[in-house]
Amino acid sequence: MSDDSTNPPRLETDGSPRFKLPIYEGPLDLLLHLLKRAELDPHDVTASIITEQYLAYLELLDQLNLDVAGEYLVMAATLLLIKSFSMLPHPELADAEEAEDLKRDLVARLLEYQRYREAAEKLGERAILGRDVFAAAGEPVPEADSDAPRFTVSIFDLVEAMGAVLKRIADATPRNIVLRDIPVAQCIPLILSALEGGRRVEFTALFEDLRDRAMVIATFMALLELIRRREIAASQDDRFGPIMLERIGAAPVAQPG
C-alpha cells in the first residue's frame, strides 16, 4: 500500500507486534450480530451488506494488529465464494448448484446455532444454584468462571468502535509512522486514572488525545485486558449506542444530582 515513492513499500508482516484477539465467539456469532444489527434474518446471510460488513470487520482486526482464529477466515472464503457465483453472468449449472448448497448449508448452520443460543439464554435465566438460590452451607459455591471475559458489550462492538478511532488517526497523521513497541502494561494506569472516582466515561474519550497508532492499539489491548480481569465494565444504554466504561468496585465520589 505504498503511495510515496521515497519510502520502501510497507510489508505485510512488518515485524510489528501481533496480538491474538481474546474472544471466545466465532464467525457464526459475528454473522448473527451483523444480521441483528441490519435487522435481517439468517436466510439473508448472503446479502451483500452482510458479506461486506463481515469482511470490513476482518480488515479492521488486521489494522488493529490482531489475529483471529482460522474459522473466521474460512467463513470469509465461504461468503466470498457464494458472492462470486452470484456475480457470474451465466454460471455453469454445477457451479450454481454448488453455490446454492453452500448457501443452504450456511443458513442451516446459522439457524441451528441460533436455536442453541436461545436455549443457552433460557438456561441462564433459570434459578442458578450459587447465584439466585442457595442450599445449606455444605454445598460448594460454584467457582467464578475466570477464563471468559465479561463483556456486557459485545467484543464486536468494541472492535468496530476502534475502527472509528483508527480512521480519525489515519486522517490526521502522516502515513509512514513506524510502529513502536509499546508495552501494553504501560497503558493500564492511564486508563484507570481516566476512570477514577467511579466516573462513567465514553469509550472514544480514552483515545481523544492520542495521535499515534501504536499508542492507540496498545491502549485498546490494555482495555481488553482490564475488562478480562473484570476491573472495568463496558456497557451500552442502547443496543447499538455509545459504549461506556466504568471501574468495577470503585467507590464513587459524591457527585451532584
Partner: protein, 222 residues
C-alpha cells in the same frame, strides 16, 4: 407415621443433607414409611413454606429434593456469603446447552455447531463438574463424548433431563434434519422450498463430523 412428625423429620433430613436427596434415600432412612407417604408429606411441607412466605423452599432437582433459599432473597444471601455469582459466560452456556440437548456428543461436533474452538470452555465445564466424559464414539479417531452430570441438573434447577425447556422441539427438529438431510428447518413442518435435492456437506464447512445414528440420551444419574 403421623404426618406432622413426618414433615418435621423430613425438614431435618433435607437440611442436614444439603444436596438433593431422592425419595428412595429418605425411605431407606425412615424404615417402614411408604414412599407415597413421604412424597405427599414433602409436597405438603413445600406448600406450607410457600403459603407462609418462609425463607426456605423445597425444590425438586436432579431426581431428588433440596432445601433452597427463594430467588427473591438472592441479594441478601449473596451478601451474607460474600459470594461472587458464578460467571456463566455465553460461550459456557452455549456449550453446556448443546451438550445437554445432544448428549452424548463429541468436541468436533460441538465445535461444528458453535463455529469456534471450544477446548477452554470444555475444561472449565469439566472442572465445575457440570459435564463428564461419557465414553468414546465408535468412529475414526475414537473421540471422547461428553454428557451432563447430576451437578448440572442441580445447578440449573432441573428435575431431570426431560425437563429441559423445549426438549421435544429440539429432538423433533434434529430428527427431521437428520432424516431428510435437507436445508434449514425452522419448525416441525418443512418449508415448501426445501424440497430441493439433499445438500452435500460442503468442503469449506467440513469438520470431523462422522455419520452417526441418533445418539442415545443418557439419564441424569451417574
Amino acid at each position: 407415621m403421623e404426618e406432622q412428625r413426618l414433615k418435621s423429620i423430613l425438614e431435618s433430613l433435607l437440611f442436614a443433607a444439603g444436596e438433593p436427596v431422592s425419595i428412595a434415600r429418605i425411605a431407606a432412612v425412615l424404615e417402614a414409611v411408604p414412599k407415597a407417604e413421604i412424597q405427599s408429606a414433602l409436597t405438603a411441607l413445600g406448600a406450607e413454606y410457600a403459603a407462609n412466605n418462609r425463607g426456605l423452599a423445597i425444590e425438586e432437582v436432579a431426581g431428588g429434593y433440596q432445601l433452597r433459599t427463594p430467588r427473591e432473597h438472592a441479594q441478601y444471601v449473596r451478601r451474607m456469603l460474600a459470594a461472587r455469582p458464578p460467571r456463566l459466560s455465553r460461550p459456557l452456556l452455549e456449550t453446556v446447552a448443546i451438550i445437554a440437548y445432544r448428549q452424548p456428543i463429541t468436541r468436533p461436533e460441538i465445535e461444528q455447531l458453535r463455529g469456534v474452538d471450544t477446548g477452554g470452555v470444555l475444561e472449565t465445564l469439566l472442572e465445575r463438574r457440570l459435564i463428564k466424559i461419557a465414553g468414546r464414539k465408535e468412529a475414526p479417531g475414537r473421540p471422547m463424548m461428553y454428557a451432563t452430570t447430576p451437578e448440572f441438573l442441580t445447578v440449573f434447577s432441573l428435575k431431570d433431563l426431560e425437563s429441559l425447556p423445549d426438549l421435544k422441539e429440539f429432538q423433533e427438529i434434529e430428527r427431521a434434519v437428520d432424516q431428510a438431510e435437507i436445508g434449514p428447518v425452522e419448525s416441525i413442518e418443512t418449508h415448501p422450498e426445501d424440497t430441493a435435492p439433499a445438500a452435500e456437506e460442503s468442503p469449506a464447512l467440513e469438520s470431523a463430523k462422522a455419520a452417526d445414528p441418533e445418539p442415545e440420551k443418557s439419564g441424569g444419574e451417574n
